[in-house]
Symmetry: D2
Subunit: 122 residues, 4 copies
Amino acid sequence: MLANDRASAALGIEVDDHGPGWARARMVVREDMVNGHDTAHGGLVFALADTAFACACNGWGPVTVAAGAEIAFLAPARLGDELVAVASVRARRGRTGIYDVTVTRGDEVIAEFRGRSAEVRG
Amino acid sequence: MLANDRASAALGIEVDDHGPGWARARMVVREDMVNGHDTAHGGLVFALADTAFACACNGWGPVTVAAGAEIAFLAPARLGDELVAVASVRARRGRTGIYDVTVTRGDEVIAEFRGRSAEVRG
Amino acid sequence: MLANDRASAALGIEVDDHGPGWARARMVVREDMVNGHDTAHGGLVFALADTAFACACNGWGPVTVAAGAEIAFLAPARLGDELVAVASVRARRGRTGIYDVTVTRGDEVIAEFRGRSAEVRG
Amino acid sequence: MLANDRASAALGIEVDDHGPGWARARMVVREDMVNGHDTAHGGLVFALADTAFACACNGWGPVTVAAGAEIAFLAPARLGDELVAVASVRARRGRTGIYDVTVTRGDEVIAEFRGRSAEVRG
């Protein structure tokens, strides 16, 4: 799946490692990723977390998509920062899953993301 | 603010119109925006909504940032789709605000986003 | 459905009116509803909103349950306050729905709730 | 704080143990807690999680309130079920905190809750 993910590639997102229910991805904040406050656009921090989430929830086998997510932005990321997103499954029930993704810069937490996944039928 | 938003510019996001508490923005799903399921990467749909949200919550005057957001993905967007995001304030209390953003493709709702804003002091 | 809702009855929740996709309910904050900060327990404000949501999303016919919800607490409610919750559908797609519920005390917004519904099969 | 929490007492919620950033609470689903689907009212499952969250976020010392929360209902709880909620801090930044609460019935996850806390000034 990731091999075909042109969006993540265009954002320079690299998935270091992944397995059933977990993944780790990274992204450097480029000049074309900052917003009017001179900090990383929240949508791109979300995109990094979402890519890690997608790898984690598809790691079990069946095709699985994001039904939704909630993100809390705890600190701004800045030009040149390397952000790391670690995703892990929290709960699965039927075709539904809950995954937590923490985005950090070194020891500092930048954002906390919680994704809801839905397995696609057939 | 928007004039300096290189991230939104790089994504081709155009803000049609905006005012205190509301904004409308649009984005076309490009080849570098689709993911492994051949649909728009959720992070980029989020980014469109987030840009509309930022314009709406900064329209009152004081610098305001996103504290967090929740998004529900109701239908996939595909290559070439033009997506429109309409943001409007729902409630404000002290330095906190709640904004709703609906992302559509024609008459169809693609995603519902709810953002939480925080006015920056000083 | 509401006729059998002992939980809402025990909380003194009254549903004024409802229809397909909307409902209005009210609740008075009693002595057994306040918490350690001497304000209404957030769970009971949530419960009021959730009851209005349940009436709105079941108003179309098919049995529908809450898959989840997000709530922002904007102001505390106090002993004796009468709270009113107004629910309205925001989007429906397949068996999924998004509903907004605003909880007010007079003109003041106490909480903004967004519920996600799922229609039960068969 | 908990000693004065009449709402939690009225719901029969017992806090087994708690400390800075964590807490464990339990509640039995009573006849006056079930809704029209004959399952526990979602608001009361939320209330149990919210009480555990309040104990966890107030365990550091400063008075702290809930700014908001998101809950996913994964399985229904039924009359007579004993539910256990375990809260733990996920991240803290300035006056803001993120806490996760898992509600279980035996080995089964009933709900996943994520709370956002705000420390009160002064």
